[in-house]
Symmetry: C2
Subunit: 499 residues, 2 copies
């Protein structure tokens, strides 16, 4: 069996699938699997099980795709955090994220919308049609022939618009949409050097350019997508203006990632890489490109990845009242320390993270606050990775911290167009839970050993064989103060007035 199906060229195939989906009796997920985000998330790995999407595939006799996808995960993405097993959504771990400017292919996050197709590269053809002057089919060998198309390498950060969604879920749950919204943390972002050809040049050279009415390019992938009882190939679009921008470097057809062949789960043999845009536009396993006068009518483009306003939700959301998320705004995250970590320090805490801006902007400045956003400290340029037009910067700062107890660290970045981030999660909350770009805030428990009382407590703990403050909420087994000292103090400063 071919491990993917083309739907878009075969209306009778879609009609049959639709009728199968309407008559099939679907089972409900087991009670132990939370339906979307009102229940606390499980701490299992995978975190969520894609029960419904497996059912959809099975109803159409496509169960093999489900199995093949998971085997691909185990082969190519074994060590990342599996947020949703099918369609696969996997998040890079903190230590993997901060290993360097480029993310290792095996650690780069994955947000798939369908199963992984098993494409035979030798038989593969990319079809380009619609409002082009000359429709063509190109083999991989033709595309990769440098005498036909000049090749490009671009360092690109790809970010899922769900990055940091967990912060929106925690405060204000939103739309479950057609599939479960993956509860992404800070690791739905990664950077690689992509190697391929510019779409602009392929259109010009192979298709003799586009027709005057063309304003958008639609990308169709080999993965199968479901929406409201209907079946599709994954399809998205970007404006022609984007394809043509800055010499064509912003929209690549890529077959290499960090000097290696594109992994199967990342779109092998060929994918789009759209720099500065939401990851969803970087269509994987692309089999067809359509030149269109208007944006794609595919559900991923038209009905999803919409940025709704605050009062829009289940009671009034329509597709036309959210705007389509394309370019990504400035954002950042603290990766170390972690939320709720106990940090023992002597007045300075090393804080590390990433900062990124899309839409052709890059990061100019990163500021970190030790007090919930009252005072801000700037990171030094020497403590940030180098600038790229289309990539993030990793940063480190030695942050002065005096206060003990629960403190709130937060970070905000400024990009080359002077954009900075909204203040609180609520400042940019939206029903579909996209683009959590507010200043990233974490709570840590600060223990400052420059204080004599704290050093005394640590010594006392050691006397009792206790080496760690973990778990923070477990009581210490010894008396916190001897009776003599206690009485001296309370007699000197009694609670009640004497008159």
């Amino acid at each position: 069996m071919r491990r993917y199906i083309e739907w878009e060229k075969y209306p009778e195939r879609k009609a049959l699938a639709r009728s199968l989906l309407r008559t099939h009796k679907f089972s409900l997920p087991p009670a132990c699997i939370p339906e979307f985000q009102l229940a606390p998330l499980p701490t299992t790995n995978p975190v969520l099980i894609g029960h419904r999407w497996k059912e959809y595939h099975n109803a159409l006799g496509l169960g093999e795709i489900v199995d093949f996808s998971w085997h691909t995960v185990l082969r190519e993405k074994k060590d990342i955090i599996h947020l949703l097993d099918f369609p696969y959504n996997g998040e890079t771990r903190r230590d993997q994220l901060m290993q360097g400017k480029l993310t290792d292919n095996k650690y780069h996050f994955i947000r798939n919308h369908g199963g992984v197709p098993n494409i035979d590269a030798a038989a593969y053809e990319l079809e380009i049609g619609g409002l082009v002057n000359k429709p063509v089919k190109l083999t991989l060998a033709e595309l990769q022939d440098p005498s036909k198309f000049p090749q490009e390498e671009v360092t690109v950060t790809i970010q899922c618009s769900g990055t940091r969604r967990i912060e929106q879920i925690g405060q204000y749950p939103g739309d479950g949409d057609e599939l479960i919204n993956a509860p992404w943390g800070e690791g739905a972002i990664g950077t690689a050097v992509y190697h391929g050809v510019s779409l602009k040049k392929v259109l010009k050279i192979a298709c003799s350019g586009v027709q005057p009415e063309c304003a958008h390019l639609e990308f169709i992938g080999a993965d199968t997508y479901f929406k409201k009882g209907d079946v599709f190939n994954y399809a998205v679009s970007v404006p022609l203006r984007k394809v043509r921008a800055t010499g064509g470097e912003e929209v690549l057809l890529a077959w290499e990632m960090n000097g290696k062949p594109l992994p199967q789960i990342h779109g092998y043999p060929l994918r789009l890489v759209v720099a500065g845009y939401i990851g969803a536009r970087s269509c994987k396993w692309v089999t067809r490109i359509n030149a269109l006068a208007e944006p794609s009518m595919g559900p991923v483009q038209r009905q999803e990845y919409l940025y709704y306003s605050f009062q829009t939700g289940k009671q009034n959301a329509e597709y036309s009242n959210g705007f389509s998320i394309q370019a990504m705004p400035v954002s950042s995250a603290i990766i170390f320390p972690e939320e709720k970590q106990i940090v023992v320090h002597s007045g300075t805490i090393e804080v590390k993270g990433w900062a990124y801006s899309g839409g052709g902007n890059w990061i100019e400045r990163v500021e970190v606050s030790p007090d919930g956003g009252h005072a801000w400290y700037e990171t030094h340029q020497d403590e940030m990775t180098e600038k790229h037009y289309h990539a993030w910067r990793l940063w480190t700062i030695k942050l002065p911290v005096d206060a003990e107890g629960w403190i709130e660290l937060c970070v905000r970045a400024w990009d080359s167009a002077n954009n900075t981030q909204p203040t609180f999660v609520r400042s940019a909350w939206n029903w579909d839970l996209h683009v959590t770009s507010s200043a990233h805030r974490i709570k840590i428990y600060s223990i400052n050993t420059s204080r004599s009382e704290t050093r005394r407590r640590i010594a006392l703990m050691k006397e009792h064989g206790i080496e760690s403050f973990e778990p923070l909420t477990r009581p210490l087994p010894f008396a916190l103060e001897d009776e003599k000292k206690y009485l001296e103090t309370v007699r000197r400063y009694p609670r009640e007035p004497t008159s």
Copy 2:
């Protein structure tokens, strides 16, 4: 076996217990029981299992107390929320809480510190000693003889200082202390008419008054308490000045609650009721009262219920650097609607809750905000229960709400001394997680049917047989907008500029 033990008069008994506790091999709680509050709380009932305290009791051969306590719970408190099975901590449900000014005995919250003692009322004696002019022992019959002691009835709200602790736990976990800090919601508060005798008058009549050095009265209960490997009877104290205040009505020895005999779990046959103070001072199953020059050295008085400052925690907390919680500050809570509830309304939401102030103050004003604390609306006196010197007021307000989506309702009360509540949980966070008296905030999802788009969506849902917005995050199975309308709108207001 007697289902309680007196420890405080028998140093050799305490020494033996201490040595048993030090040599006993205690088992750890099963992994599925969260150790204190860093893991999400279970949604079981009981919520938490008092593993360690059961182990302590069993080590001393007092397992029967554990069983007797739980049987008492099932008999007297079956229908409330069991937060901790042993020592029993149970919280009043929302509907029970709002039934009226007085809380039904079977619904009144319970915060016990040890097992329930099984006292034979006929053999019971209250011993009064220490710095009194005449130490005495009084039988229940003597105390209840109106020719000896004038009887009093006072309407008193008792509140655990842990009320609304869950808000502190959720944001900033703190001390697990010697036993698990119960994750109280808004129901660790209740009101009853207590009937008994004034302690002031008992001291005067039966003991011929106290000696000049006496400044505090210590109450010792029949329940067994453990702290740092040592064993005690429950013991707390209040200032003599409190006992003498306002004619003695603020500190009662009570045997009736709402016209019925004191339930076993509430302190039968005799308890203290200390109006305006933290519930912990209202000692249940009182067997001895000591007149002292200084506050009780019992661990509950001296080492717990301390109100620490913000930077005090595991690294530096000592008993003398928190102050003892006695009088309770002004506080309030929203009971209806509930956190994360979907509220369908037509521009007005009925909000209900309680408001209380201790320390001799009463509630003058309650204000509710529909927008996180920006604008406030005052409740009308006719929509509040009557004033008492020592009791809460329940309140209702019809709150104007226009906005849709996630809104934050909050409440603040003002008392007769013009005190009001801190703004945020963080404003009064403290390591032992006591006195969560900040403005109570809940998030609700507002759906306003005065809007035509919302009415249209509700009609469309009905056409598809969907009667409810629950669960909020489950997607609607139909298209949110037809293609024709979608195209009209996006063509009229295209995303990209034309030039």
